[in-house]
Amino acid sequence: MYDHDENGICIEMKGITKKYDAIPALNGIDMEIPCGARYSLIGPNGAGKSTTLKILVGLLKPDSGKVTVGGFDPVTNDAKRIIGYLPEDAYPYINLTLKENLEYIGAIRGVEDPKSRASELIQKLDLTPYRFTKVSQLSRGNRQKLSVALAIVHHPKVILLDEPLNYLDIPTQASVIKMLDELKATYLVSTHIMEIAEKLSRNVIIIGHGRVTWNGTMDDLRNMARNGERIEEVVARLMTDVA
């Protein structure tokens, strides 16, 4: 079913609604992301960014609407095989070592040789000195690097990242971005920091009050600037207009 065709649609949400008890989180989200594209999901706190990602990864079921990832319902194993997910403030298994985390998740995700894949990612992310360190004793930055590695251990084709560059210093941010660039995948990155959105994507979806309020490219945003406005100010204006 999944075909990594640049002309195909890899992420599709139609009329998605979701309530937590009586509190609405999503009020009819619509979005289509072509395969191979890189999108940022931007919005103020409580806009529904994390809920959108949790629905896309199959951790939550929407109350209504249709959602597919790579053509599959996200709750199916077919979808889980192609999706990589990193939540905000991710904590891997705290009582396993860095290497054990990668090997275990590789193993249960059906990676052919989890040991080699773990070593490869450890090397790529400069984590070799910490490979035998338990997650509970890792610094926040190294824990975040491990979390990114866990999200991509199974070579996913659709990658959903929630604030992926949190806690990373500038050189590490660069190495993580380089590694993500090398993967031929579709990205949806949730963030509220425009600088990170610019680094990781070319397209932007702005959501507010559980709906998509704007959808376009980074260049569109730059072109909307009035009187030398910075891109952050343009986005802030778009968010305020909606509110």
Partner: protein, 475 residues
């Protein structure tokens, strides 16, 4: 200032629900303790002894200083007198370990003595013992797990030694040897309380405790060059095998067992749980043999053990089961319903590893002392591990406590968690009947196996529960 500090420390460590429950139990047991004047005294000596032994072992092995992250950020940097903080921290520890051991003792104490003066002396000694129980939970904080286990186990054995006719023990006061009781209780409680306050006075929040064994790589001169934890290797086996093996091999500890603490959450290896099961089996069977009269079972004691097994063993293995789980990794790797099937299989096998040695010992002594021990053996072997399914289901329903920050675990016992205990009430009479009528035990065991198999294979049910869990913030 002391009262304000104490209030702050107590309300930040305990939920109102927990404090209310403690106060109600305290009031009830003081009342019943004063009113009931029983004539039968034999068994309740053992109840008092069992309670102090249990809490000594629990507090000692799990020795922690009840500090929270916020204490370091706000209280340690304030100008408040350190002695107020130390006294408040000790009191907060006493509220759990001291009162939890005192409450049942108050209820049973009148059973142990015959005259008013003895009663008062027994009560004073029991109160002193609660200080010992609290203090051992603080005094051993700076020691390694091996030392904590060794000291706690030695203290526990010393406490139970009067059962075997050794009266040079603090608990001798329960067996009409008041002089030895007074001498040893006073020495123990005073000594350990002193060391507990010293520990609190010098405790540093930055100190971390490493759980798990570490292999050291040394150079030719014997210097340590790198410390490598003993690792689990995930070979190229099936996904089901790896998932079950992972969930079987690591037993979560420290996440629920100490109620108040500044403790690191952790896991222990299944081999240690098996060793604990064997040790308990040996002690338990020795006690049962000692208590059984020639050729006949001690039925009351067997029922007592069955009731406590049903109440505590499934709770022990289920309460922390999901606390260290990571839904963003496990539930996104496969269908949550299927993951939970493997997860619960691993957890049932874990509980079985603990109860199997106990069961084996009981089967052995049942050959000499009759069928009720066989009923108890069957109960430990089959229904108790199967009960985990019920407990995990209830846990899912009332909300799972997830440990995210490994350094500082704030644990407040709330009313929702209380519901975890309720299923045991349903199974208590069934467990007791299984011991009295072993044939019923066979039917009960078969029913529990069928129930567990049907339950864990209902993937749709667990999937729905998993979604609900994520909605409540579990990630």
């Amino acid at each position: 200032m002391l009262l304000k500090t104490l209030k702050l420390i107590l309300i930040t460590r305990y939920s109102k629900f927990f404090i209310v429950i403690l106060v109600l139990l305290l009031a009830y047991n003081i009342f019943t303790g004063l009113v009931i004047k029983p004539t039968e005294i034999v068994y309740y000596r053992y109840v008092v002894l069992a309670i102090f032994s249990f809490f000594t072992l629990l507090a000692g092995v799990n020795s922690t200083v009840p500090l929270l992250k916020s204490d370091v950020h706000f209280l340690f940097v304030s100008a408040m007198p350190r002695k107020d903080l130390i006294l408040s921290l000790f009191t907060s520890k006493y509220v759990f370990y001291g009162l939890s051991s005192l409450i049942p003792v108050l209820y049973t104490l009148p059973f142990t003595q015959t005259g008013r003066i003895d009663e008062l002396a027994g009560l004073i000694l029991s109160v002193l013992m609660t200080f010992f129980v609290t203090s051992i939970g603080l005094a051993l904080y700076n020691f390694s797990i091996r030392v904590r286990i060794a000291v706690s186990a030695a203290a526990t054995l010393w406490l139970i030694s009067p059962i075997f006719g050794f009266y040079y023990s603090p608990m001798a006061y329960l067996f009409d040897h008041f002089t030895y009781g007074i001498i040893f209780v006073v020495i123990l409680s005073a000594g350990f309380t002193y060391f507990a306050f010293r520990t609190l006075a010098t405790s540093q929040i930055e100190k971390t405790r490493v759980i798990g064994s570490v292999r050291e790589k040394r150079d030719r001169e014997g210097n340590i060059i790198v410390k490598i934890p003993r690792e689990t290797t995930f070979r190229n086996r099936s996904v089901a095998f790896n998932t079950i093996a992972f969930n079987f091999s690591r037993v979560p500890i420290y996440s629920r067992t100490s109620f108040i603490s500044r403790n690191r959450s952790g896991t222990t290896k299944i081999s240690r749980v098996i060793i604990a099961g064997i040790a308990i089996s040996i002690v338990l069977n020795l006690i049962l043999v000692k208590m059984s009269t020639s050729g006949s079972t001690d039925l009351l004691l067997s029922i007592f053990i069955s009731v406590y097994s049903v109440m505590f063993i499934p709770l022990l293995f289920s309460q922390s089961a999901l606390a260290l789980e990571r839904a963003w990794l496990s539930f996104t790797s496969m269908d949550p319903g299927i993951y939970m099937k493997y997860f619960m299989t691993g957890k049932i096998l874990q509980a079985l590893s603990f109860t199997a040695p106990i069961s084996a010992g009981l089967i052995f002594i049942s050959l000499f002392y009759g069928l009720p021990y066989m009923g108890l053996a069957l109960l430990e072997l089959v229904p108790i591990p199967c009960l985990l399914v019920v407990y995990i289901y209830i846990g899912f329903s009332v909300g799972v406590f997830q440990i995210r920050d490994p350094e500082f675990v704030t644990q407040q016992f709330n009313s929702r968690q209380f519901f975890n205990v309720l299923p045991s009430l349903l199974f208590l009479p069934l467990a007791a009947v299984s011991v009295i009528v072993p044939y019923f035990g066979g039917i009960f065991s078969a029913a529990m196996v069928i129930f567990a198999l049907i339950s864990i294979t209902r993937t749709g049910l667990w999937r729905r529960k998993a979604f609900r869990l994520i909605e409540s913030g579990f990630i």
